[in-house]
């Protein structure tokens, strides 16, 4: 059966491609087509990219590994402190109340305070301040005092043994001023299902 392959090649009728001799499996034939060139090119290119990748990160070390990348990211942030507000960590010194300012009562600030409250505080003090895990913020009883300064202090430094975390590195000074003002505005709102009173009655005048 060994005839001249030039003349004896079987060809696919529709495409004219050469059919592999003897490659027949349950009626399935195979063509003797070459690898598509662009496909082969793609394969080689990805291998080259792989080699370059390894060289850059592990041999030449011209690209940062993840720890270095992280340190660079953090350093870039620390070098460009915002002009509008001090970087979060710088508010830790000094008297927080002085830094934070005084109670605000305008609608816009209270609205801002409510946004901060909903995002951060409601998860323990509940949406209307009625308290569940954290104490009720709507009654006149306070564990650590109910003045604006007292509230700001608790927000800033937390009461970790009771689960209240320190927020001074997580909220801006304005946020804290607004949310403390908002909390004071909750006084006497009498929401349903309040948590029982805790602490002592706070007299604003005293």
């Amino acid at each position: 059966m060994k005839a001249d392959p030039e003349n004896n090649q079987e060809r696919d009728q529709l495409t004219g491609d050469e059919i592999m001799h003897g490659h027949e499996y349950d009626g399935i034939q195979e063509l003797n087509n070459k690898l598509p060139r662009w496909w082969l090119g793609l394969f080689y290119i990805t291998i080259i990219i792989g080699v370059i990748y390894i060289l850059r990160f592990h041999v030449l070390k011209t690209a940062p590994l993840q720890e270095e990348e992280y340190l660079t990211e953090m350093a870039a942030f620390e070098q460009t402190p915002s002009e509008e507000a001090p970087a979060p960590s710088s508010s830790s010194s000094g008297d927080e109340a002085t830094v934070t300012g005084t109670r605000l009562t305008d609608a816009a600030s209270l609205e801002g305070g409510k946004t901060v409250y909903d995002k951060n505080c409601a998860v323990c003090h509940l949406a209307q301040g009625q308290g569940l895990v954290g104490p009720n913020l709507t009654d006149a009883y306070w564990i650590h005092g109910g003045s604006f300064e007292d509230i700001v202090k608790v927000i800033n430094t937390g009461v970790i043994e009771k689960g209240m975390i320190a927020w001074k590195d997580m909220l801006s000074v304005t946020d804290i001023q607004q949310v403390a003002s908002f909390i004071m505005s909750l006084q006497g709102t009498n929401p349903p299902n309040p948590k029982a009173q805790e602490g002592t009655l706070f007299n604003p005048g005293s």
Partner: protein, 710 residues
């Protein structure tokens, strides 16, 4: 030469085919339930068995191992017999395989719902079932090689190469990833811990995708697509090159699941590099499929079988390009832990596996029953609804992923996280989750139409149980290469040698990555302050695993400012050395918990918060989509096996003092009482022997070893 007459066993094909349809519908219905639970958490019904975190693993396993698994076996048993011109080696083995596999599926479903899980994704099954899988898998291989050895064709076809690679690789993956020490009949701890466990698990997980969802389906494609199109395969050479390149390279790519994690950089690099190099070998399969249709595209317009195949192969091409892109650091930094991954795998599962399966069934069922397909029109309807379903499924999830990842990473000009409350980034996604559920509903509607069409076809035909065929027996020729025979052509007539070469090829990548991580100390720098869990924390950890918390919460803070601001100091390899199994997770539907217990952290919550939150998350967060876990407040902690658990951990190298097992229960009670007392002072009366106490102990321990404030 005399022709031998013999019969193909069609009944085993029919069995697997029915099982495919049955489990397909169940697995997808469970998927719809899971999708709806993300929109309406009430649908977890406040019952352990129906809660999302047990439903999701049930869905993934049912679809992968029950639906796709049975489809592989149906397609393989049909094509292997015909490609070998022989009946299966042993009918007994065939039916042991069938019933054994179904039994495994049923026990998987029951144990998952009951909370028995190893928590390693797609390998969650406990050790007795792992053992059963090993036995049944070996029976499958035995039957396959028995058939190959009595075949009446000289060479084995490319489809069979893929079946062989599938058999041998899945065996290796399954065995290595399932090495665990039992505590009792349904509880065990894996021998690997932390970084090593993560690497082994994702070497397995990634290659389960490769060798359970990809290579067997490429084998099926190589048989059913040219059959249905009645066209020769485009290129034999491409088959050879892409087959060997694919199985060699795939194995290396596992670490791309762990980019920017505590896995050593060099291993991450290998994951990225080999994923990129994998593009062309993957596309080789797609090209050989699509180019086989040259000259037959007019048939594609008419034949629903070919339509299904074209979309399947195209979906394969899309996800095998998308996968490598997601494996680059730049893309992965954004897509990891988001719904992008879920969309990506569903392009593969619904498009590639689902559509190839249905194309194959529409082709095969009429032939098994000696009839025509009941309705071509219904098959076309299935095709279009299914295609729409894939789009409606994937597009909302891509959108959700982009939305959420940008929210996670956005800072205010003052340098604070714009969305510090994780829940805000979840609430944003609910409409997209609803759209996704709708896409799933469309897809399963198509499937149900398909089932109806196939049932009708079956009832109109007459089953050909034993299909007569004839072929000449093989005459013996030299086992060595004969003159003019290429090396590969020789290998194609030597299935056992073929398997051995495949085994060597697939072992290389795994060995290079796993052994150094295991042996070289510097890969996991030890941290002196990291101590073993207390007995109560260990029990709490087992509850965390049992309830499937890892399905929604990661424990891996990546080294990005957006993550360290949100969660605290990024995770270090040395923190996980006692974590059998690791709990890094792969998806953040909820926030990362790696530093949950750190008191100076943003995420810290007091014990009383956890108590209330487990009872009903919506008491504290009206918009939370976390399910309730209120049974933890009622269930008594089973501490009968605590001592045994400590002993097993000691065997695994966790440095509890000698004889500590006997003291463990006393220490457990003391710590539990402290937590109960603390809750009491916060106004919560709870007995110290409840499960919630142990879980709280574990959560409050998380991430504290290397941080102040313990």
């Amino acid at each position: 030469m005399d022709q031998e007459k013999f019969y193909y066993d069609n009944r085993i094909v029919k069995y697997f085919l029915y099982a495919t349809l049955f489990w397909g519908v169940i697995g997808m219905l469970v998927g719809i339930l899971a999708a709806l639970q993300l929109v309406w958490p009430e649908l977890s019904f406040n019952t352990a068995m129906t809660t999302f975190s047990r439903i999701r693993p049930l869905h993934t396993n049912a679809v992968i191992f029950a639906f796709v698994g049975n489809a592989i076996f149906a397609g393989t048993y049909y094509s292997l017999q015909r490609l070998c011109k022989a009946r299966m080696f042993s009918d007994t083995l065939s039916y042991i395989h069938f019933w054994g596999w179904q039994l495994i599926i049923v026990s998987a479903a029951l144990t998952f719902l009951a909370g028995y899980t190893l928590s390693k994704e797609y390998a969650e099954l406990e050790w007795p079932i792992d053992l059963a899988i090993t036995i049944i898998w070996v029976i499958f291989g035995w039957n396959m090689f028995g058939t190959l050895l009595k075949r009446r064709t000289r060479h084995i076809y490319v489809a069979v190469w893929f079946y062989i690679a599938t058999f041998v690789t899945v065996a290796v993956l399954h065995i290595v990833n399932s090495i665990e020490i039992p505590v009792n009949f349904l509880k065990s701890y894996p021998v690997f811990a932390g970084v090593q466990d993560a690497l082994v698990q994702w070497w397995y997980g990634h290659n389960a995708v490769a060798f359970f969802l990809t290579t067997p389906f490429l084998g099926l494609m190589y048989y059913y697509l040219p059959k249905a199109a009645n066209r020769p395969v485009y290129s034999y050479r491409l088959s050879i090159i892409h087959f060997w390149a694919l199985i060699f390279i795939y194995i290396w790519a596992g670490p791309h699941h762990l980019l920017y994690s505590s896995l050593p950089d060099w291993a991450q690099t290998l994951g990225t590099v080999f994923s990129i190099i994998l593009i062309a070998p993957s596309w080789g399969g797609m090209l050989n499929g699509l180019l086989t249709l040259r000259g037959a595209w007019d048939k594609v317009r008419e034949d629903p079988v070919l339509k299904f195949f074209v979309v399947a192969v195209t979906a394969y091409g899309m996800s095998t390009l998308e996968g490598p892109l997601m494996s680059t650091k730049t893309v992965n930094a954004f897509t990891h832990f988001t719904d992008w991954t879920i969309a990506h795998v569903h392009i593969g599962a619904l498009g590639w596996n689902g559509f190839l399966t249905f194309g194959m069934l529409y082709w095969m069922v009429p032939r098994l029953f000696g009839t025509q397909l009941f309705s071509r029109k219904l098959a076309n309807t299935h095709f279009w609804i299914g295609t729409l379903g894939i789009l409606f499924y994937a597009i909302p999830l891509y959108w959700a992923a982009i939305t959420q990842t940008l929210m996670w990473k956005e800072f205010t000009p003052d340098g604070f996280l714009k969305y510090p409350n994780f829940l805000e980034t979840v609430t944003q996604l609910i409409p997209m989750y609803a759209a996704r559920a709708f896409g799933g509903l469309l897809y399963i509607t198509g499937v149900i139409i398909g089932v109806y069409n196939l049932v009708k076809t079956v009832t109109h035909g007459k089953f050909i149980r034993d299909e007569a065929a004839s072929a000449a027996p093989l005459d013996t020729i030299s086992g060595r290469r004969i003159q003019g025979e290429s090396r590969h052509r020789w290998l194609e007539r030597k299935p056992v040698q073929f398997m051995i070469v495949s085994l060597v090829v697939i072992l290389i990548g795994g060995l290079v990555e796993i052994i150094p991580t295991w042996l070289i100390k510097s890969n996991v720098p030890t941290i002196a302050s990291v101590k073993p869990y207390t007995p109560l924390e260990l029990e709490g950890r087992d509850i965390y695993i049992r309830e499937g918390c890892y399905t929604c919460h990661s424990q891996m803070i990546r080294p990005f400012r957006s993550e360290t601001e949100r969660y605290g100091e990024y995770s270090k390899a040395g923190e996980f050395v006692y974590d059998h199994p690791f709990q890094w997770g792969s998806k953040r539907t909820g926030p990362d918990l790696a530093r949950e217990g750190v008191k100076s952290g943003r995420l810290y919550k007091p014990d009383s918060w956890h108590y209330n939150h487990m009872d009903d998350p919506r008491k504290l967060n009206e918009q939370s989509i976390m399910p309730r876990y209120s049974w933890l407040l009622r269930n008594r902690l089973n501490s009968c096996t605590t001592a045994r658990k400590i002993s097993v951990m000691q065997k695994l190298g966790v440095p509890y003092p000698e004889g500590y097992a006997e003291q463990a229960n006393d220490d457990l009670s003391i710590q539990a009482q402290q937590i109960a007392d603390g809750l009491k002072s916060a106004g919560i009366e709870v007995r110290s022997d409840k499960e919630i106490i142990a879980l709280i102990a574990y959560l409050q321990r998380l991430g504290t070893d290397i941080m102040e404030g313990r």
